[in-house]
Amino acid sequence: MLTFVVRRLLLAVPVLLGVVFVVMLTVELIPGDAVALMLGEHATPEAVARLRDYLGLDKPLLVRYVGYVGRVARGDLGRSIQQNRPVVDELADAWPATLELTCAALVIAAAAGVAAGVVSAVWPNSLFDGVARVGSLFGLSMPVFWTGLVLIVVFALWLPWLPVGGMGSPSHLVLPAVTLALPSLAMVARMTRSSVLEVLREDYVRTARAKGVAERLVVAKHALRNAAIPILTLLGLQAGQLMGGAVLTETVFSWPGLGRLMVKAIFARDYVLLQGAVLIFALAFVVINLAVDLAYGVLDPRIARQG
């Protein structure tokens, strides 16, 4: 198990270095003079000099990359242009809101998705199964930002039950979390249905039933545990989906998180802040996938033994 963990950790290092490289490259894509574009016409010479020095655009790519990795490793992501504060501070202010939103959405998607998928698989072709399958097709096809607006119209404007946007009380969390959760919920429900259905056809399930194990236990202990790996993989991937969706959801609901910060940074042409936000999202995604990988080892000891 230990070698498995160490191996996975080491494999994540080149990916992280690559992610930093790609994020650095995005500023490279800006046509024309990036510094002039970012600071505008009225910038002071000191500000221009400082940004030029930070970006190091006159140095060779490799030198810049090594410098950038070094700064990122020390937690120096530069200064945001709009607020003139360290980017790290801005990100630190915004990430708890995003974490709250994405965790709430993940819990909703996982709980409701697995429950719906299991019920569908245990009673396939029932009325519930039909409704759940059609519902999940719609869930996958609805744009997140649109679902959010429709929920606002219905539950905040027509029926004034919930707030339109902003953050504060738990009631503020309901609409954004549900909005963000819906596509993932649909995916999880589909995946759970198909993997539980598959497992229920296995010989060991037939054996368990034959020896008189209660159906409830067959589903909970035999089917669900063995169906857990594909479901877990999907949840790991859905974390990435949720982060991207958070950018849209936060914009719709004025949720003060990383996504909204990022969109603001784009419109202010604050590429230093944008780089920092993209980097944080990507790093979080790598770490989550690493955690999912490690969880395989726990769920299925065969994987850990193979390394």
Partner: protein, 287 residues
Amino acid sequence: MSERAAATLVADTWQRFRRNRLALAGLVVVIALAVAAAGAPWLAPADPAKQSLIEKRARPGEKFLLGADEFGRDILSRIIYGSRVALLVGLLSVAIALGLGLILGCLAGFAGGWVDVVIMRGVEILLAFPYLLLAIAVVSALGPGVLNTTIAVGIWGTPTVIRLVRGAVLTARESEYVRAARALGATSGRVLTRHVLRNILPTVIVYSTLFMANAILVEAALSFLGLGVPPPTPSWGLMVSSGRDFLLVAPHIATIPGLAIMVAVLGFNLLGDGLRDALDPRLRGQV
């Protein structure tokens, strides 16, 4: 595969596809979209750019079947024209993803060694970016616009195609029939076109269809954020975004174009699912 065998494959696929009602519904939606995009000037009841400030935010009714937007433009006409942007960005980004993916995937699979390692590490790195964020980063750097949106969406779809193609190349390389073909003196190019590409064709078709659905969603999302297609081009995402300010007084401006996005995405999803089941029942649940 001879001409006749190919014809049989298509006929077989159609036989299976035809029995799937959801898949047929998807096909109908996709055909309707294509017709709307191609025939927009004839189908649209009004000029999508014509403003009428006295009729701004008009509710759906006789003159404006789906209502008018904040500038008094006919929403139905704008939705019909919007299908052009959605399909154009979708098709071109699929082409980019397939083109790059085929080249790099074949290179990785056939060359092996360090070429393979470099390409596959690159794939892993691109896949490490959460959904939408890579596209946002690319577009915000390149600047908004149809072309840049397409490039961003295409790049986002490439890593998965590389993986698919490389996997197929590796499987084919080890298979008995490719060894036999090699022993008979077939060149790499022939092995590639006749054995590898033919084999992954069903998977590629299914992936492309499902990717179209995602590409339409990503384009709409970028346009919604103001990073995609610039106004006044009618784009569904942009229409939803501009209707946001009038949710209370005129909710139809934002919600109706969103329905168009959903129907289009649903159509491609249903078609993709149906094609997967019809083309190769073994693929069920894999793509």
